[in-house]
């Protein structure tokens, strides 16, 4: 299936190549890079957020391609041109899920763009659990995956805690600084030890939660807002015009579902493949076991939050697919698929009925799972307040912010009415000290 231009990442390359990683989630990805460091990879995160990233991307990709692809291409080509890296000793890495969404073509689009820009010899590693492409110098193993899982768990924990604490901190920036401190520390741990002791991980959870809970906070009248959507646009501040910062500055407490949820969604889809199509029969028992196991790990994480602080944890993931019953089938597995709908339902279920649904302009799966599911969600939760925001290189920020402001105005009004009627459920009150 590879054409002639396919450049594999060889074992030789592993020795002295620098692998550039597009930065989707700052904390998670730094931890993941640390994990790879233990296996001898030299990786570097790209955090170029210059306005010209999209412009460079547009130069080398079809204009109607998804915005995330345009941004990633822009970041890569800018980095290769910057002179900071030797293009003969540099590789790139990008995740590939191989579903029916055009996102599985990001790798091909990156390669085409590199070729156009004169970097055709730079290897692009496809990062996928199932090994869609063969790169002898970069193969996934259970051990590596195990390490990565903890990177994701830590990342999710800190993202969750920052979201809870940041709107109420007395000293601005203290939550972010604490997360920074822990990211460095955990990075050293994940990076140096190789072996991971779960008991120690749990101790870390506890320490992290306690330190976050100890940040001095004050009462503030906030509204709860959840952010869901296409994975890259949902997480990457570059792609979503610093959505989270904007929401916090407008007085919102922001919940962004964790990265592990997406991983679990991918695992769950393997189970569905068997249940619906009777495919992947041999792997089924193992995948089922792994799914349970990871769900349990996530549950431990949630418990670490609720047991060691007054802060809220998150719903047991095994309950999440169940929420979609009667609304969307879990056989919908392209892009974010049923997970996108389920995340909105999960937020509603947890009392967070104000939602920003983000997607790149023209995102195909989101026609169905995002915009297409708003009506049935509203039928189940009449108070839900969802705004769909499209992101792309040409979308104007003022339009996006204006729409979000409307959602926030409705949220505040709704909250004031509920408070007046004293019907506000517990979860609607932010935890304050």
């Amino acid at each position: 299936m590879h054409d002639k231009s396919f450049v594999p990442f060889t074992k030789e390359m592993k020795k002295d190549y620098t692998i550039l990683v597009p930065n989707m989630l700052p904390m998670h990805f730094r931890l993941m890079v640390s994990v790879f460091k233990t296996y001898g990879y030299k990786m570097e995160l790209l955090d170029d957020t210059g306005a010209d990233v999209a412009e460079v991307g547009l130069e080398y990709t079809h204009n109607d391609t998804c915005y995330p692809a345009i941004l990633v291409v822009g970041q890569f080509i800018k980095a290769l041109r910057s002179g900071k890296y030797n293009p003969d000793k540099t590789a790139l890495i990008m995740s590939q899920t191989g579903g029916g969404c055009r996102a599985s073509n990001y790798i091909s689009l990156i390669r085409k763009a590199l070729k156009k820009a004169g970097f055709g010899h730079v290897p692009v590693i496809s990062f996928s659990i199932t090994g869609l492409e063969d790169h002898p110098g970069f193969r996934m193993s259970l051990k590596k995956l195990h390490g990565l899982m903890y990177a994701v768990l830590y990342g999710d924990l800190m993202m969750h805690l920052v979201g809870r604490v940041r709107p109420y901190e007395i000293e601005p920036g203290s939550a972010t600084q604490l997360a920074e401190k822990w990211t460095r520390r955990l990075g050293r741990e994940l990076g140096a030890e190789g072996k991971i002791c779960y008991k120690h991980v749990k101790e870390n959870y506890k320490a992290i939660v306690e330190e976050f809970a100890a940040i001095p906070m004050q009462t503030r009248n906030t509204v709860q807002v959840g952010v869901v959507g296409e994975i890259f646009v949902k997480y990457s501040p570059l792609a979503n015009n610093n959505l989270e910062d904007f929401l916090v500055s407008e007085g919102a407490e922001v919940t962004v579902p964790g990265l592990l949820d997406f991983c679990l969604y991918c695992v769950y889809n393997s189970l569905v493949e068997y249940r619906v199509y009777k495919r992947k029969k041999l792997a089924y028992p193992f995948v089922k076991w792994a799914y349970k196991k990871i769900c349990q790990r996530r549950e431990d994480l949630s418990r670490a939050v609720t047991e060691n602080s007054m802060l809220s944890g998150f719903m047991n993931f095994e309950k999440v697919p169940v929420l979609t019953e009667g609304i969307i089938s879990t056989a919908v597995k392209m892009g974010e698929g049923w997970l996108l709908t389920a995340e909105m339902l999960e937020l509603c279920e947890e009392g967070c009925t104000n939602i920003v649904c983000t997607q790149p302009f023209g995102c195909l799966p989101n026609h169905i799972c995002g915009k297409g599911m708003m009506k049935p969600i509203k039928a189940r939760y009449p108070h839900v307040n969802i705004v769909a925001i499209d992101y792309d290189a040409g979308a104007s920020r003022v339009n996006q912010e204006n729409r979000i402001k409307l959602m926030l105005a409705n949220a505040r009004k709704e909250k004031a009415e509920r408070t007046a009627k004293k019907t506000a459920p517990e979860t609607m009150c932010p935890v304050v000290y």
Partner: protein, 978 residues
Amino acid sequence: MAEKSYSLGIDIGSTTAKLVLIDGDKPLYKKYMRHFSRVRQTTLTMLREMENEHPGCMVRVAISGSAGMGAAEAAGLAFVQEVYATGEAVRRMEPDTGVVIELGGEDAKVIFYEGGADARMNGTCAGGTGAFIDQMAALLDMTVDEMDARSLKATRIYPIASRCGVFAKTDIQPLVNQGAKKEDIAASIFQAVVNQTVAGLMQGREIRGKVMFLGGPLYYCHGLKKRFCETLGLEGRTAVFPEYGLYAVAIGAAMCTAEEKAIPLSKVIEKIEKSAETESAGFDRLDPLFASEAEYEAFCARHAKASVPHTDFSSYSGKAYLGLDCGSTTTKLVLIAEDKSILYTYYGPSKGNPIRLVREQLLKIRTLCGDRIQICGSAVTGYGEDLIRHAFHVDTGIVETLAHHAAAKHFQPDVDFILDIGGQDIKCFRLRNGAIDGIMLNEACSSGCGSFIETFANSLGFTAAEFARKGLLASSPVNLGSRCTVFMNSSVKQAQKDGAGVSDISAGLSVSVVKNAIYKVIRANSPKELGKHIVVQGGTFHNDAVLRAFEKEIGADVIRPEIAGLMGAYGAALYAGRHEKSTLLSREELEGFAHTSTSSVCKGCANHCHLTINRFSDGKTFISGNHCQKGKGKTDREDLPNVFADKRELLEELTPAEGRRGKIGIPMALSMFELAPLWHGLFTSLGFSVHFSSFSTRRTYEKGQFTIPSDTVCYPAKLMHGHVLELIEKGIRTVFYPGLTYNVDEKAGDNHYNCPVVAYYSELLHGNMEALGNIQFLYPYLSLDSSSALCETLYPTLHNLDASITKGEVRRAVKCGFAAYDSYRKKVKESGEAALDFARKNNKRILILAGRPYHIDPEICHGIDSLCGELGFVVVSEDSVCHLAPKQKVGVLDQWTFHARLYRAARYAAEHDDTSLVQLVSFGCGVDAITTDEVGAILENAGKYYTQIKIDEITNLGAVRIRLRSLIGALEECENAR
């Protein structure tokens, strides 16, 4: 609080500012002004005026509106989101309102109040409505008031695409050129606004209770009100057009000030004044177009050299040739002498009536010619080509692209790249060895660039020329991005918010137009790709700012002929030089010339095309608006094989049999165009009577449009809603549309997925079509991998439907289904092969019209297949020839069944000299953003032309015709060269 205080609401929209002072609920003062992008100055002027009437009063103030956010922030005043403000105003003043429809300068909003406020605003794709109406009025050369008045006298409505201004313009222009009545066009424009609001914003929610209409356009335009009331079926009681319609947002903002501190009005003025001084430069800025006056002068001097010789008309005698270019917004005429020097030129706006204009000009020319000069040949090009040719007996019609090529080649023999930016289209051609090698026309979504600047200039109170001049010496042009003009509107809004001045916006727009052309249309990676000898032309390049921006962007000097705006006409005149005697109307005939146009509906087929019949004084008629030749009364045309038509016939043969187990309805949309035979065979074998919905018409779309949740999904998907409703209206109680993550596996790609929309549209239907709640909607997830897999996945659903169905029956039924499907595929392939044979035996050109199976739907392809037939092509589909080429290795993941067929069809075209390929792409198809590059690469690597046609709700075939004729022209040149 001791002192009496009032509430002040300021609403700064995209084009206007409104201000209201209220005492409790009682309005004291109000004012409405266009701000012409001078947001802060206008606000200050208004406040000072108010201060004169209410000196020294204490106010609690809040600002609202799309351009108000920045102003409020900078001045440190409270901001209220405008929809929220509207809500407050309505809640207090008209509490029993169910729905508010508010149209602003560039925003459209619908707010539902029942069951918690649900507000919908136009997304990033839909253009503004007020600005749209302004643009359309300018196109018709009327003021908005005139257009409004005329619209009330309309007798019929033409279908006009309702997505955004650019699309609509493409529909309106031909109507204008074909001589449709302005009354009707005006009303149709308002109807398009209504359709856009209904389709894009109401999205399936039914209207209950009073409907209140707010905002400028709905306050001023009675025609628009009428269209809304008729479309929504509202009567006087339920439609409210309040007196304060313009001020609702400002009033609402004022009502939201309860928690603000009262401050003296003078203090408010002071705060805004201060913020005006410290205007932030938050918007990206670009380098100035010219660093100095001297640089500008050098630039002018350089371009002045590119002139054409003129010959004095009054003293010349001998032969002459006439070229006409009846473009979308302007009409051009050029008369040349035998030595190709110019005798006479005309360049002027078409003003919606090209016939009158051309007659005047021809009369003038004929008079000036007298007996000294003989016009020996004439040629016409452009949108109005057919009409003008018939009206004035012009010798030849020539497709625009070829006319421009002729002109540029004459001008600069070494030319290897021509870029033409006209009123609303961008054309560019690459030339190799003197022949056209590649043609690129702008997609419908990025057109309108030239006239966009003009309309924009007018809306700011300038002429296009004044506006351009302002941009030339702008110190820091704003970066407005490189997307379609509708997006630019929003970017300009943001620039205004940031306080950018008119000159910087003008320069920024010029840069954007240029970037659009280079990166969106030409899609060049580097300027070197364009060529060494670039000629730019078209009216838009008369604008020095655009020309300069282009040179700066590509980093090289280009040639702009002095007659940049006349190149089409000049090229036509050169072309006319082939003639020796002209049939052009004589002076006497022109004097006696009269023209009337009437409209009627074609009864030739179910399409019911709206025809415009032009009658000329010589008794001849010219009919336009028809999708096929039937409307013209021609039936004797040669019938060439057309696989699209064959496939439609095969699908129409799938009629319901008697069914002991009842009826099953299947919507004929999306994947059904491939799999209908399978399901028909399967369910018929089980004893069901299988009913398909009919092929789509415009009505199908309209029927279902209320239930479409995503306005940017592709048109084939949108049609699905109407199909489902059609089945339900027919009384069918069981509807089947399965979920198909995977398509049939033809073993011709890396995987065999469906695209997400085809795969999962059933989920969306289930969630959004309330009508499905009353019937049985079957949408199981099925596997087509093998008979047993299908049996396995389908059986539970069928057993649930009718407990008497056994597994054995299903197994047999699945076999029947697959047999029917295989037989259908075989017939399609045979039809393809037969067409190829016919073409080769009869020496005809072959065209692979490549897309998806559902592109054969008449409403989706808009009759492009028969148009190709008319132009002399034998039409085959991608799925009828793909089996003749091997599996392709492409640079992307080849993981969709339908798309793998595209690649193989492209390979077939690449390998056969007599075969061309045109790819049909539905607007909004994300997957085709990937496939088009690959299909293009396969063809271009083999030295073939790649033509892509984007299709949407658009019903006009004019642009398609140009592309196809250009393709034919290029093929002919190629053949001649050989």
